[in-house]
């Protein structure tokens, strides 16, 4: 016992350092939960790693937090979905370049009985107005994520100030928000990727989709070398360019869940 314990500890220590020593050619990518939770990265990252020998380590958080991580210089690259925020990020000098990578769309989810009748709505604005008018429970992300920011714009579109008992700000990620909405039979807006890959829908179903305002653009950003010289800009640039390349765009198009394509490449 006296010998084995230190030995075991030594083993634990050395494997610990081994993990870190292995990490030469890698970048840290701050991205959103929708890309991670849907399984997109599991499909496209191995292809990128094969092509370039660069490992991509994904920190999947809300878009607001992803911006913050990049702002502090803790990530080499950024892939998020808040075009207005991304452009401001470039203007403020944190990033030097932003490019469209792919789109998917937001969908409105709700209880199958659809008490607000949003399935018949002609537009997203009408659907949102219906929910507000009926004052039926709506679960909002409330976490300053890309989806939350888009949702707030859609309420504005519908001329509704979302407040009251029915409007529940959860302050959580997309998956937890769907879990909560399922538990309280609430309406909720989700990106399509997370919804399709979600495995605990209970009574929830997709009720409204297809309006152009529900378009969800993802962008890749090259972070500023001047502001954060310590970042792995060369490797990050290869990642950025691969995403926009024919190979990267094809890899995104090939990703499917249950036979359904979830992200549509649209790099120019």
């Amino acid at each position: 016992m006296k010998i084995t314990l230190p030995l075991a500890l030594a083993g634990i220590m050395t494997t610990g350092w081994a993990i870190q020593a292995h990490a030469e050619g890698y970048i840290t990518l701050a991205s959103t939960t929708s890309t991670e939770n849907s399984g997109l990265f599991d499909t496209i990252l191995p292809l990128f790693e094969q092509a370039t020998d660069i490992e991509v380590r994904v920190v999947a958080v809300g878009t607001g937090q992803a911006f913050e991580i990049a702002r502090r210089g803790d990530a080499d690259s950024l892939l998020v979905h808040d075009t207005a925020g991304e452009k401001a990020f470039v203007e403020n000098g944190y990033a030097t370049e932003r490019a469209d990578v792919m789109v998917n769309d937001f969908v409105l989810i709700g209880p199958a009985s659809d008490p607000a009748g949003i399935a018949d709505a002609q537009s997203a604005a009408e659907a949102f107005a219906d929910i507000a008018e009926a004052e039926l429970p709506f679960a909002s992300r409330g976490d300053d994520s890309g989806t939350h920011r888009a949702e707030l714009r859609l309420w504005e579109n519908a001329d509704v100030t979302p407040e009251g008992d029915w409007y529940r700000e959860l302050g959580s990620g997309m998956g937890p928000a769907l879990n909560t909405a399922a538990a309280m039979d609430a309406y909720v807006m989700s990106d399509r990727a997370t919804w399709v890959a979600f495995e605990n829908p209970q009574n929830l179903t997709l009720l409204f989709e297809g309006d152009d305002v529900l378009f969800n653009q993802y962008g890749s950003l090259l972070l500023s070398e001047a502001r954060h010289p310590h970042l792995k800009h060369d490797l990050a640039k290869q990642w950025h360019q691969w995403l926009l390349s024919e190979d990267g765009q094809q890899a995104i198009a090939n990703f499917e869940v249950g036979g359904q394509q979830l992200f549509f490449p649209n790099a120019q």
């Binding site: 634990i12 610990g16 993990i19 939770n37 999947a60 210089g73 803790d74 879990n179 605990n200």
Partner: protein, 234 residues
Amino acid sequence: MPQETNVFFVALSLLLSGDAALMSIVALSLKVSLIAVLASAMLGFPLGAAVALWRFPGRGAVVVALNALMGLPPVVAGLCVYLLLSRAGPLGEWGLLFTPTAMVIAQVVLVLPILAALSRQKVEELLGEYREQFVSLGMSRLRMMPTLLWDARFALLTVLLAGFGRASAEVGAVMMVGGNIDGVTRVMTTAIVLETSKGNLPLALGLGIVLLTLVMLINAAAYVIGEMARRRMG
């Protein structure tokens, strides 16, 4: 990963499958928490004993602070370590954020107060028993420290397990400073959060049972070692 709704079946097949990804997550969980607990013990036990032995101004405040920090919310510890290790923070140069080392540091912040506060109490109790003997032997406080720690070892083993429980169970701190990166900083608790957020509740609960089993095994091992040692020493 299995698509099953019976969580016990999921847990069992997870355990039996020897799935490489799961094994590396389990190994990292154990590694991070064990190193954190050992580092905390090396700092915390002497610290606790010192506070028990020496009388100095502000000692009461130190005792209260150590006791209060036992309840430090993991997410606060995580946030502090995050700000410390972030590139924009004072130790940013080290580039430790989103590494297992950062997770160890965060867990040390959580575990150290528990080990220090509880060992302070145990040592103080023992000191009450031993004081007269120590005085008659004319021992210095510095010499008392190892004696007291050694004689309190069985109680301290339990303290160590409490610290390990805290480390292996928390998710807020390791999520924040580790980033839950697949294959690099993903541990049992952050994997459970991830699977829950995907709505894969059976797998999440299955992972929870695996974690619980591990913690149980470690506690059982500690119990057996403690009993064996106790018997041998009489």
